[in-house]
């Protein structure tokens, strides 16, 4: 039952996304223009840690932009209708999975564009598979936290402003871990060295999903 509802919700989300193609293209354009502005102001970054930090800041802001609308589109009539039909827990898990797919897509695009436009000298040793793992794990926790917090923020009038002040302090632990993890990947570390980052990031991700699963019904039931 739960899985069936989840599948339906995901399908529903994708159909909406396909209907509103302008949304995803606007986010992609946002990412490309941000990176382009950065490339005009930096051209080349000598230190890899700054290159890495800039990359994560761009990811953080573009994901905030992309996910802030996840509960905005639901006007209240539709919310009541959905609530009568489905389990709210299926709804939040569906939203988290959908946002996860969306953000991994966006993050891969920005990684590609960022690599093209902004060069750094110390990137030859980079362990690409590990860097991608860091990016995927990091953006997972960013997107799931943002999904839950945007559900909270959607109840207020000033959605995106409230979303950032509520979410950024909570995001800092996983963001710091991801930045350190990807720094290690840039320096050419191996997976053995990064095991604690992988374990901690996965645990944080799991914790966020469990908390959202437990707490979301209270937000939904109004």
């Amino acid at each position: 039952m739960f899985v069936k509802q989840l599948a339906h919700l995901l399908k529903h989300e994708f159909l909406i996304e396909m209907k509103q193609k302008h949304f995803i293209s606007s986010i992609v354009l946002y990412i490309i223009s941000t990176i382009f502005v950065c490339s005009l102001s930096f051209t080349t970054i000598a230190e890899t840690s700054i290159w890495n930090g800039l990359f994560w800041i761009i990811i953080l802001f573009s994901l905030t932009n992309a996910i802030s609308k996840s509960f905005l589109n639901e006007n209240s009539d539709k919310q009541i209708f959905l609530y009568t039909l489905i389990n709210p827990r299926a709804l939040i898990i569906g939203k988290i999975i959908y946002n996860l797919i969306l953000s991994i897509l966006l993050v891969l695009i920005s990684f590609f564009v960022f690599n093209i436009f902004i060069q750094s000298d110390g990137l030859e040793n980079m362990n690409y598979s590990m860097f991608l793992l860091a990016v995927v794990l990091g953006s997972t926790s960013i997107s799931s936290t943002l999904t839950m917090v945007s559900a909270i923020a959607s109840k207020t009038n000033n959605n995106i402003g409230i979303l950032s002040i509520l979410a950024f302090p909570i995001l800092i632990p996983s963001l710091l871990l991801s930045i350190q993890f990807s720094n290690l990947a840039i320096l050419g570390g191996t997976f053995d060295m990064a095991s604690q980052f992988i374990v901690f990031l996965s645990l944080i991700n799991l914790l966020i999903v469990i908390l959202s699963f437990l707490l979301f019904p209270y937000l939904w039931r109004e």
């Binding site: 909270i152 000033n158 409230i162 509520l166 909570i170 632990p173 871990l177 350190q180 908390l211 209270y218």
Partner: protein
């Protein structure tokens, strides 16, 4: 009689805090040697001037100074002369059997005995024999251990801040845990009075967080930073994992207050902020518990440990630190109960 049974802990809080404040401001620092010049010695005879703090040497006193390593007395000072209340000059003769090492200085008079680890460096080319005590210091009968606060290098008088800065964070964590607990209770019962407790606990927790940041900032300025000039922005903040944790906690709970203020309807406000409170508290615990384990910190007991090192407190500090923590926590809970009573009275006035 009944009121004593009910309110004894408030009296306890007052007594503990008076004890804490009196102890931490009135008890002197133990006498200790702060610097030696020159602090690097060569083979042969070296004349060293030792500068102490609170030592109060008097001219008729008998003083002994020895250099130690690994519980063995290696060099005994000779021709010890008092220069003034806080300075003595000592001759150390470094034998050629001594290898290059950083030594600990022990200075005793008949009033006190002080131990300054890693104060003096020796440059010598010695064969590293398994040296037993090379010299026998005259056993001085330092009078009974008097009550004083330990005098540490670098910390000096600022060690008194331990009784104020550290308990602020303990109290904040306790009060925020109360808030977390009542938020859960609210979501189970939807009784608005639990939400009020959660809200007021956050306010009081924020107060303690700000006090902790201020005391910590002052402490950091005068111990970790070389910029001791008050009128500069340098040195008030260092990039340290615990400071980041403190700052993030403060940001999270300020955000909680903003969230509350941007919602209108009472029950919606209570429900949504309770959800955020639970979510944020758990993430904050993750931040405070996990990150210090994988990054290093300037704070004591770190690099693998989010709490204290057990060797950081001596018995005198323990005598006042634990009461201080208890006193501040009780004070926080007292403030919370007052806030609750104010709310109840206001509610009563509105209903009448």
């Amino acid at each position: 009689m009944n009121s004593i049974k009910k309110h004894w802990w408030k009296a306890l809080a007052v007594i503990l805090l008076i004890y804490t404040i009196a102890f931490s401001f009135l008890v002197p620092l133990s006498p200790s040697v702060k610097s030696a010049s020159p602090n690097s010695l060569n083979l042969g005879e070296n004349k060293v001037i030792l500068t102490g703090y609170n030592t109060g040497f008097s001219s008729d006193e008998k003083i002994s100074a020895t250099l130690e390593y690994d519980h063995k007395t290696l060099v005994c000072g000779t021709e010890i002369k008092q220069i003034n209340d806080n300075q003595v000059s000592v001759n150390f003769t470094i034998p050629d059997s001594l290898p290059s090492k950083i030594l600990h200085l022990r200075l005793s008079t008949n009033k006190f005995s002080s131990f300054s680890p890693e104060l003096i460096k020796v440059f010598a080319v010695g064969i590293n024999r398994d040296t037993t005590n090379l010299c026998e210091a005259d056993a001085l009968n330092s009078s009974a251990h008097s009550l004083d606060i330990p005098n540490r290098l670098q910390l000096n008088e600022t060690i008194r801040n331990l009784m104020f800065h550290v308990p602020m964070w303990f109290t904040m964590m306790v009060i925020l845990s109360i808030s977390f607990f009542y938020s859960i209770k609210y979501l189970n019962t939807f009784d608005i009075k639990y939400d009020i407790i959660a809200r007021e606990a956050v306010n009081i927790g924020l107060l303690f967080a700000v006090l902790g940041l201020i005391t910590g900032s002052i402490w950091a300025k005068f111990t970790w930073s070389e910029h001791t000039d008050l009128f500069t922005t340098k040195g008030w903040w260092v990039n340290d994992v615990k400071l980041n944790g403190a700052a993030i906690t403060t940001l999270i709970y300020i955000a909680y207050r903003i969230l509350r203020n941007s919602l209108q309807e009472e029950h919606q406000k209570a429900k949504i902020s309770a959800v955020y409170n639970i979510f944020a508290f758990v993430m904050m615990i993750v931040f405070i518990m996990i990150l210090p384990r994988i990054t290093d910190s300037l704070h004591p007991g770190n690099g693998g440990n989010p709490a204290f090192g057990k060797y950081d407190l001596d018995s005198t500090l323990r005598m006042v630190f634990y009461p201080a923590v208890m006193g501040w926590i009780l004070l926080g809970i007292w403030m919370l109960s007052l806030k609750k009573r104010i709310y109840n009275l206001e509610n009563k006035l509105e209903n009448d």
